[in-house]
């Protein structure tokens, strides 16, 4: 409660510094459980844990916000149990911020039998043959019981490769579903609902969608329906279009983006929040993230490599272990997976921290140039990256 007796909103967003050339900005987003500096990368803890890492380890690397999946948590342990536990924060022993997705994306991508109707997503239960419906109201009820700081509206997701009237239908339904979600939302005091911009690769649909969403009283926005196999040229144009149209004083979240180069480009285009399973998934396959992309520690050439995964990295893995040791246990011992997950999550968080600092110190364009030089040290920087950055006044050699 503030001095005047009005409630502090569940999200405040304060821009700290802006890049003079590009659209990059760094801000402080204060949520009920934690103040989060943006641009931020949110590691994905699908089922209430982040791939073998303890909450203590995430805190030690200054991770302040995690993503949880509503579809998985809603199925198991389920909203009833989460309510009894006092919400996901208490259940998993994490007292910093959490964002939950709506469950819709998992439905459509995991369940081949999912059918989208006006009421919601109709699907066959993976446990028995019964038919279930995830409506906008259900999704919000589940997310209310999970209790995340930021919750997402249920959207009508179509593949970014889909064309024709289905894209428009999905965009319009997403707006209708947003209103149902907002109506069903019972915890606006401590949970922020974000709408999702849809509209495929069509500029006009995206514009119409944003125009509708901004009329609603919400505290942040997400850009959805991209990062699904579309051409990178289409990807960045949609991100830029949405970012340009969305209000400047609210956070913008680009869903499912996690490759380092994509993060850097999207920040330049004005995006504040990201999530992706990539760092932990690639760790499971024995890969470590490095300045030049990633290395697969299973490869024989690392058997005698006495360097840390990434030279100069200050994560607990790189401070203690060599590539040679990780090579000798990778994909055999769970410890190897944990070590790589720690490094990869740290790598992403450190990248975002470096980005934030460069914005504060008014050297973001130089940061981007150096980053791209290292990432593409032995190859040409892809044309889409040059084009995207040029569109926000950052020139690459």
């Amino acid at each position: 409660m503030t001095a005047t007796g009005t409630k502090t909103p569940a999200l405040t967003y304060k821009i700290i510094a802006e890049c003079k050339e590009s659209k990059a900005r760094t801000s402080l987003m204060t949520l009920p459980h934690c103040a989060v500096e943006t641009p931020v990368f949110m590691p994905v803890g699908t089922k209430g844990s982040l791939k073998g890492l303890l909450p203590d380890q995430l805190e030690a690397m200054d991770c302040r916000i995690l993503l949880g999946n509503t579809y998985h948590l809603g199925t198991n342990p389920g909203p009833e149990l989460l309510k009894k536990a006092g919400g996901l924060h208490k259940f998993m022993g994490w007292d910093r911020a959490i964002l939950t997705d709506s469950g819709g994306f998992q439905m459509v991508s995991l369940l081949s039998l999912a059918e989208i109707k006006e009421e919601g997503v109709q699907f066959k239960s993976p446990y028995d043959d019964s038919s279930c419906l995830l409506s906008p109201e259900n999704s919000i009820q589940i997310q209310n019981s999970i209790g995340a700081d930021i919750i997402m509206q249920l959207d009508d997701v179509v593949s970014s490769l889909t064309t024709g009237p289905r894209v428009e239908e999905a965009m319009e339904r997403t707006i209708r579903w947003l209103d149902r979600c907002i109506n069903a939302h019972e915890r606006d005091d401590d949970q922020n609902i974000f709408p999702i911009v849809q509209g495929g690769l069509d500029d006009d649909l995206r514009k119409r969608c944003v125009a509708e969403l901004v009329k609603r009283n919400v505290r942040g926005f997400a850009v959805g329906g991209i990062s699904g196999g579309e051409a990178k040229d289409d990807f960045w144009r949609v991100v830029k279009l949405c970012s340009d149209l969305l209000p400047k004083d609210k956070p913008r979240y680009c869903m499912g983006v996690g490759f380092a180069a994509d993060l850097v480009v999207c920040v330049a285009l004005g995006i504040d929040m990201f999530d992706c399973v990539f760092p932990t998934r690639t760790a499971r396959f024995g890969c470590g993230l490095v300045e030049t992309g990633q290395i697969n520690l299973k490869h024989r050439k690392f058997a005698k490599d006495l360097r840390p995964v990434q030279e100069g990295c200050e994560c607990s893995t790189c401070r203690t272990y060599t590539r040679a040791y990780i090579h000798s246990i990778v994909t055999v011992e769970t410890v190897a997976c944990n070590l790589l997950s720690v490094h990869n999550v740290y790598y992403q968080l450190k990248l975002m921290k470096d980005i934030r600092e460069s914005i504060k110190e008014e050297r973001f364009p130089e940061f981007v140039q150096l980053f791209m030089k290292k990432m593409f040290e032995d190859r040409e920087v892809p044309k889409w990256i040059k084009d995207a950055l040029a569109a926000v006044n950052i020139k690459l050699p």
């Binding site: 791939k51 198991n76 893995t317 060599t322 000798s328 246990i329 944990n338």
Partner: protein
Amino acid sequence: MKFSIIGVLNTGARQGKLTNISRLPGVVLETPLLLFYTKGGSIPHITREVLDLLTKENLGIQITLPSTIQCFEGAKSFGKGIAEFVGLKEMLTYCSVQDSAINTPEGYNSKEQISVWSNTGRVAVNADKYMDIIETFQPDFYQALSNGDTHSDSSKKKTQKVMDSSDKLLDKCLERHQSSLALKSISIFGNIEGGYDVDLRKLSAQVVSSKPVDGFIINGLHNNGPDVEKLNLKKVAPLLEAVMKHLPEDKPRIIHGCWRPEHVLKMVDMGIDIFDSSLVYITTERKSAFIFQYFEVPVEESRTESFDECSILEINLEDKSYKEDFRPILEDCTCLSCRKHSRAYIHHLIMNKELLASTLLMLHNLHHYMLFFNSIRTAASKGKKISISY
């Protein structure tokens, strides 16, 4: 490494300490000592960062050859020993021939070649190859290469053969050990064989203790793995008695395997100094958490000397009865898992095959077992012993 006896209880239990560890100046570890079992050089499911959340104490670790033989090339180019290679350089490091937690298939050893089972299959190791590995690994102490392929049903002929081959291997290891500059400050432990034959056990103890070894392993009682929990200590006790009589007092004695806690207490009374924590790993792998309670009793108190009491040592968190149990594994336990997480959460992680389940179980079980050993030592220092309550 120097071993000295601080005291002996009426029960026969010894209190000792390990000092003068040349790699770890100033470090003192007291016995009865628990060596933390490792796999591939790491405590299973526990990275160095997580271990530091469990304890800052000086620990001993057991490096097992089958799970680390693939580290040989890497450790060799690293050149600073296995402990630092696996991120545990401050730990007292012991190398064993076999993996205490995993069953060693029977019948694959020849007179000179001992089979170890790595993650890529069987590897035959002779004394020279073994000593190459030890020179590279640079542990603080190690088990001489041994056969040990006997158990309660082994024939006398087989037992004799195993004993002879272990003796020859010990001689070869000792020859290399004494001429190697790299092993100058490293201790070698000899293997007492003899299976379940009291006479052969006695003979083995006499023969091995006449050699320049720094300590002993009571070997060949089992083929490792979870079955050790089911062993009948009544059968083992007479063998240990026969052996102990013939071992010098001033050298430490190791026994491998996932013995039940009450068996550990009994073996402490019989004069064993060093154990490994394979039971912790095996318990964790079956999704269980220790809940056994123990307390100090006067040494005179003799409880019913039943070796095979059926008791609740652990709870299995896979069981659906824990689905809504928001209590910690064990009330009043101060481990990280119990301070921050519930049975319900661990159950959820188990049901969803999340890696964190094993980490949380391992943290609790290691903590519980470590405190159990601390209590054994503390009780002994007060002239008391530990009894497990059910």
